[in-house]
Amino acid sequence: MGISIAVLAAVLLFVAIVVWVKSTMAEQGQPFASGASLKREDEVEAGCPAQFVTQIFAKKDLEYVSGLGSPHLEKFFQQERKSVALFWVQQTSAQIRGIMRAHLQASRGSSDLELSTEAGILLRYGGLQLLCGVLFVSIALAGPQGLQGLAARADAWAQRIREAQLGFHAAKETGRIHGV
């Protein structure tokens, strides 16, 4: 009994991750969704400001809409907010994947890599992708409200990876200037 539940849970998790990966890939093919049509390097690379992430996952707007007393409006709100939240998760995941790709390329040409730093970045990247997967499935199943803490953590991790990448670039540039 216990084994069959574990197998079922594993299958469900696998299906959820496949759906998430496929939707992320599909999203990358859409010019608007990938941000290509609205892209400005510094802004896109900086990610969505934390204030807006909080807003997407907050309960305040839902409480306001619920107070209007229309189940249809409430359902419409849930659909809209869910769509924005899923988009944010996909954007964050895709952006961090891009940063890691660029980081790996840059690392190949670097002779003074620190193994512990690289392992730390890789672990953080893996953790963030897992968190994005969990967020995606949770939002799809239950909506973004109530996931504010998890979203804030994902946002903070993504920010740390961005900063680590900036630091890596800065160190590389400094090395180049000093002829290292």
Partner: protein
Amino acid sequence: MSATVRLVSVQDAYDDLLQRTLSRIPCEFGRLIYLASTRDYNSGTYHHEGLAARFQADTARKALEIAHRQIFYAVSAYSLEHLARELETYLQTSRENPDEFLRAWQKLEPYRVAIPLEANPTIARLFLSNIRLALAILRFRREGHPTLP
């Protein structure tokens, strides 16, 4: 021209834009739509005759672009309740028939042009979603039942 002088003149043009033009528009949402309307649909560049005459065309363009971006982010950060109020004020000042206005906005989505060219994609999506919701709320208030897009 040095970078400092250039920055100062952009700041002057920006202040001028706020004082002479934007302060006359009664709501932030109206200012956003106005600023978006100063942008050429084909090239994406901003133009304001009066501002360009007082300052250089390039300086005026930069000031318009900055003002557009700032107001866009401010409006995008509004709670839904605040945005619905803003949209209602905008509707009232437009002097259009409210029912026709709401129907046209839900169908044609003209507010899409209010997004600056370089906006963060998630914020752009949140903005569009919030406008759709605010329109549905205003229509619900008028008709007593929701008319969704």
